[in-house]
Symmetry: C2
Subunit: 268 residues, 2 copies
DNA sequence: CTATCGGCGTGCGATTATCGCGCTTAATGC
DNA sequence: GCATTAAGCGCGATAATCGCACGCCGATAG
């Protein structure tokens, strides 16, 4: 009910990057913005809250909500609207059609068994890292680790590994003007520290991160490239720290990750 | 490349169910249809294939594809378009905002530990059952069991359990004019048999299904209602058959499912 | 070698679908 | 009881979407 924060108003520019104004369907963009306006803190939206969160006028927002409801993607009690599971069809289209998640799955499985942790394949999406495949025991974390989950890139070893593949100036741009929210007492929030971690990852070709996202957990990740040299994503493993030293964990896990990386190189 | 099948052309009626023509955003519906046109058999679409699969004209389909590309939901080599993981943001909005998956998670976890199988919470979406929460060892199945996964309702115990909550005449409508594709040699494909299974589930208040979707697996499910009596979904467990008898499995698992069901009743 | 076919991109005029203002009503709170 | 905020609705304006028609290209076949 109480909406204090006048949230982000993206206001995507239509044609800036060389798209003909004629080829721009405004309605689609607005509709997707409406869908993404639902979140943990705003699970139910009214026309006016949706309007505020998306920068669309109230009247228009209402039309989009009604349309989505009619399509079955939203439910409504007349005033409030909320997402239905049908929205998952859209994500499902990706898992159904994308070859990468399927291709990496057996490798993740093998690694999980060999090293005894949860393994992931992740890609970068703007500021965040998305986990598109995973294997192994779904960890504690109130609701397990959902596929398609996303966290700020600096919190996951895979995120750092992927950032390290970008040119340093882009990394700098990424680091500036950003607030890093701590998830544990050990979370690094200083841009300078992050920069050095990223450049170390660039030199090493891997990244190891400890207790950034979760206590007593470390992650190790290596970027994966295709034959043509593009970065396809990163494979990572999450291990309990226990009383294993950083060095021990590295010598144990890194060769396995590397092996999977090279095997994937041939496939992607 | 070769497109033999002129697929389904949904052609959703705009206002039939009492929606003002003014409140219908055609562009949004078409865009979502385009997204859902991507699938396992059609992972990459061109303007004309997309047009055929959605019933939109080629010119329009191209515009939608370009718009989605511009928004980052699609990638393209100039002619072909394919989905990027960013599309998962949409599904993520659901997991982020929906309270149900979060609420059931601890119960699924407890049940998994106690009974030693994979547990699920599922809802019905038209013909299919969607798994919106799960816990326990991700099973074999090439890519594990992704959250948001969907299968034809008759193949999963949760699907039958949910169908059994619908009035019989609706079930009959559901059964007619539908092709049931076998997944194992044991898959039931006769509408009459399915009808009796559903009505048995209605009498019992639970459903047990064996080897419908996968060999040597059985599923047991009970529907879950809210305090107001609506069906919120179904909880189910998937167990290896091994040499446990049907009766043994039932007496072992059903009380646990029932207990979780009653506990959830208070929450939903 | 050339004809044919299917697909792609583009431009344009037509029209209709979308926009948002402004009004009324209802609910909440001080 | 009045102030504030939000919802629904109707309407006129216009800008956004549509799809036809054209030209080009690549593949296949005769």
């Amino acid at each position: 009910m109480t909406d204090e924060a006048e949230d982000n108003v993206p206001q995507n520019a239509p044609q800036e990057s060389g798209l003909d104004r004629r080829d721009w369907i405004a309605g689609l963009e607005k509709g997707l913005r409406i869908i993404e306006a639902f979140s943990d803190s705003h699970p139910r939206l009214t026309p006016s809250t949706a309007a505020r969160r998306t920068g669309i006028t109230r009247t228009a927002a209402r039309r989009y909500l009604l349309t989505l409801q009619h399509l079955g993607y939203l439910q409504s009690d007349g005033t409030h609207f909320w997402l239905t599971p049908r929205i998952l069809r859209l994500g499902w289209s990706y898992f159904d059609s994308a070859k990468v998640p399927r291709a990496v799955q057996p490798f993740l499985q093998r690694m999980s068994i060999e090293l005894g942790g949860a393994t992931f394949f992740a890609v970068l999406d703007e500021d965040e890292v998305i986990f598109v495949a995973r294997n192994g025991t779904s960890r504690v974390q109130s609701q397990g680790f959902v596929l398609g989950a996303r966290v700020a890139a600096n919190l996951a070893s895979a995120g750092i590994a992927l950032l390290s593949c970008k040119p340093p100036e882009e990394v700098d741009r990424w680091l500036t003007g950003r607030r890093f929210i701590p998830y544990t007492p050990h979370t690094i929030t200083q841009p300078d520290e992050l920069r050095s971690i990223i450049s170390k990852a660039r030199q090493n070709g891997y990244c190891i991160l400890e207790q950034q996202l979760e206590q007593d957990r470390r992650g190790i990740a290596v970027p994966v490239r295709t034959r043509s040299g593009e970065v396809a994503g990163a494979i990572s493993i999450s291990l309990p720290i226990g009383n294993e030293s950083t060095q021990q964990a590295l010598t144990r896990a890194l060769p396995v990750l590397r092996e999977a990386e090279h095997a994937l190189l041939a496939l992607l």
